[in-house]
Symmetry: C2
Subunit: 481 residues, 2 copies
């Protein structure tokens, strides 16, 4: 077999006293990247090139090593180095054809978007009934903000100070160590997860199994490896497996939704939270608490979470999307003296800032007491809807079906016997315009629960009745099979 | 020298017919990650472990290779493998101590934030004078939107359809191939750059030298390598170096600001744009055009950009931050049939959606004709301010100073002789409450221009006069040295 020819190189005049590795790399790089494809040619032996340029063999060796890292040359056998096969350039139009990771493809469109058909009943949604939302009062706040002659039309990267102050005060009232200086306003929870996980030093993150889909996809987009910590909404966390997993993966962070975990609706006990904080200290990982749901539950102010129990090193995120108005897209991260500068920087790079106009309006809304009035109203309505949902479940469901009793809030978990085909039920209900979100893909491996999430915050009582009646019929049919 | 002891491992009972590599890896991993630090111990020889488990040596070899990749074991000499030194866990509170990349630290706070002192004169800002902003009319639009009984309170991941339609129509009027289906609404330009570069297949991006700071830092946060394409605002692009750089780096994308490049204020010629499109086809890279500035310039509708000239494969981004109201934080990406699905997915993962409330209000504002009226007003005022700025420069500047004449819009470039210390001038003016943004760090290597950016969109005429008078005094002093 014949060897391919050696590559002839040209080195221009130089004023360098000592020819540097860099200039050798640059010269070769430029000649290899020209119009003519030279792939397959052999590079001159190190001693020959060192002789030609009057430099040490070591200098050439380093230059060749760098060209290898750049993918321009490669070793094919013991005898020498060759110009690597050129990567085919993408056609002009294909640059974005396959987004970052193929996992993105598995991230479904949000079922509660504007595009969604309004006559479908959303039986799994975590959103609040739009009719409960205080649009009139929000409108008043916008009007007042935009009339204010002192309004600054720019934005702050960290977020409007008065808003950060009122948020911090409310969190302190809930027993958390919170200072306005350590709050960053974000465009909802998703960007809060984005900013936090973009800022992580560590690359391994543990999260609940089943997991919050949007959070996991986003963390993976940010280059993190995730692993699962099993939670069963009927029995809580499995401490033995949690500790095994923590030992196995040595995470840098756990991302946990401590109230109304999505999708299974579980809320952690104090004993579990204390265990998690102990592990965090023992194994040296951080904690990120996502508290999207607690304010929708009556008396949840008496249920301290990770931040309240674990102190200011616990990162805490929350949002107004589900409680106030989805189309505001506002939330926040609560950090600490140690973490805040980097979180603000990560936010600035990600988006420069959140809409100050919305921040002003939200501040007005909270400051005038509208938010407290609204929450009280939400909790009352949700208590009723929860009780209505429980009554319907007791009345309609076949005996083998079981459900959790979270005591109110937005969602509960409905568990089926394993022989029920969830896919079939979802498909049949879809034909009757009842929309259930499948959850089986939110488990890391084989699902340890077999059921669906039922959201009672979005549906009026008659809608819930209709949906559960149809679901019961499907279940009875499935169980007969 | 004594060898460290071999590691004793325990393998539990198994029901596997054939013990898999995976179960070997998992067992060893769990034992190495326990409380006791076993680092330094030797792994049993492959043949010994293969014998113990009754598997082939190859199975053990693969398991050991995987443990090496996981960083749990390492080869120290020819004789064998050792348990690797444990990475020290971070203390609980240090997880976010050093954000992603140290480069973030170099990204300065935005000078036009709410925190900024209002009595400083911002001589380099690219923002518009807040007094020109149509707050009253925006307020009316919010009021009308929030009164609308048909208002959906949720958001669409791609962005409100009527808004996308009106944007696409306006772009078509400017000679671009644009369809509402290919528009994604974003929270300004920065998230538009984020979403686009998160979606890239390729990892090398070329951008102007000097570069837009926020864009470059963000692209690097997204794992891209950037390189510079020199632009001199007095002579344009250096085609020889551009082609050399393109050949050298083989980019997947060029990110270019074709009108009022930030910081140097250059706007590309048709001949340059045609060259760039030719290169894109020849070398197979994509184009991302950032058009933040053109609408602020009178008659810019007769100056086609890359998207208009290069067709629908050119990705185009624009924003309302600088033209309408910074605190709205709305902008968009225009893609194509081929790219849109992935762009929408990347947006969904990044933030779920932009505030629909702001999208509705912006739609109303454009639809009622307010935006056109406003732009006309902005252009007229900017024409005056530009002329005023030119007159002042002619009157005040020492003879060695030169400047560009972009014909209006928001910024121009002011060039000093090399012997002038820009740092000194910025420092002296700062003491007099005149704020100039340093640009020397926005060049990839040694700056080929030596000056500052002058923004005339933000300052009233008397402010500009004061600022340029003080700048002229400093320059005269520096030139005397």
């Amino acid at each position: 077999m014949e060897r391919p020819p050696y590559l002839r190189l040209h080195f221009g005049p130089t004023s360098e006293r000592q020819i540097s590795t860099k200039s050798i790399v640059d010269t070769i790089r430029t000649q290899l990247n020209g119009k003519i494809d030279l792939s397959g040619c052999r590079l001159p032996p190190i001693r020959a090139l060192a002789h030609q340029l009057g430099v040490s063999k070591n200098t050439i060796q380093i230059a060749y090593d760098e060209l290898k890292i750049l993918g321009l040359i490669e070793g094919r056998d013991r005898a020498g180095l060759y110009v690597a096969t050129r990567e085919k350039s993408l056609p002009f139009s294909e640059v974005i054809k396959k987004v970052g990771s193929p996992k993105l493809k598995t991230y479904p469109a949000h079922p509660n978007t504007l595009e969604h058909s309004p006559d479908e009943i959303q039986l799994s949604t975590v959103f609040l009934d739009p009719d409960i939302l205080p649009r009139e009062k929000i409108s008043e706040c916008y009007r007042s903000v935009l009339k204010n002659p002192g309004l600054r039309t720019h934005y702050s990267s960290q977020g409007l100070l008065p808003l950060r102050e009122i948020i911090a005060k409310r969190l302190r009232d809930r027993g958390m160590d919170a200072d306005a200086r350590h709050v960053v306003i974000t465009a909802g929870s998703q960007p809060a997860i984005d900013i936090t996980t973009r800022s992580l030093q560590t690359k391994i993150v543990g999260t609940e199994d089943p997991f919050y889909f949007g959070g996991k996809v986003l963390m993976e987009l940010n280059g993190l490896q995730t692993f699962g910590l099993p939670v069963d909404p009927f029995v809580g966390i499995d401490k033995v497996i949690w500790e095994q997993q923590i030992r196995k993966y040595r995470p840098g962070l756990l991302y946990l939704t401590t109230n109304f975990q999505n999708p299974n609706g579980y809320s952690y006990t104090s004993e579990e939270l204390a265990h998690i904080i102990e592990w965090a200290h023992e194994f040296g990982f951080g904690l990120l608490e996502d508290d999207w749901g607690s304010e929708m539950l009556s008396y949840s102010e008496f249920r301290p979470g990770l931040r309240a129990l674990g102190g200011k090193d616990v990162l805490y995120i929350n949002s107004y999307t589900k409680k106030l108005l989805p189309s505001l897209r506002l939330g926040y991260i609560l950090g600490s003296e140690k973490t805040i500068d980097n979180l603000v920087m990560a936010k600035r790079v990600s988006c420069l800032g959140t809409p100050a106009l919305n921040e002003y309006a939200l501040f007005e809304f909270i400051d005038r007491g509208h938010y407290d009035t609204h929450l009280k109203n939400v909790q009352q309505i949700l208590d009723q809807r929860y009780n209505n949902c429980l009554n319907l479940l007791r009345e309609l469901m076949p005996p083998e079906i079981k459900w959790t009793t979270p005591g109110g809030g937005p969602i509960l978990w409905l568990e089926f016997p394993k022989r029920v085909s969830i896919e079939q039920i979802i498909q049949n209900l879809k034909n009757k315009k009842i929309h259930l979100i499948p959850t089986q893909k939110t488990f890391f491996k084989t699902p340890h629960n077999h059921g669906v999430k039922i959201g009672y915050a979005f549906l009026k009582e008659h809608q819930m009745q209709k949906a559960l009646e149809l679901l019961a019929v499907e279940l009875v049919n499935e169980l007969k099979k």
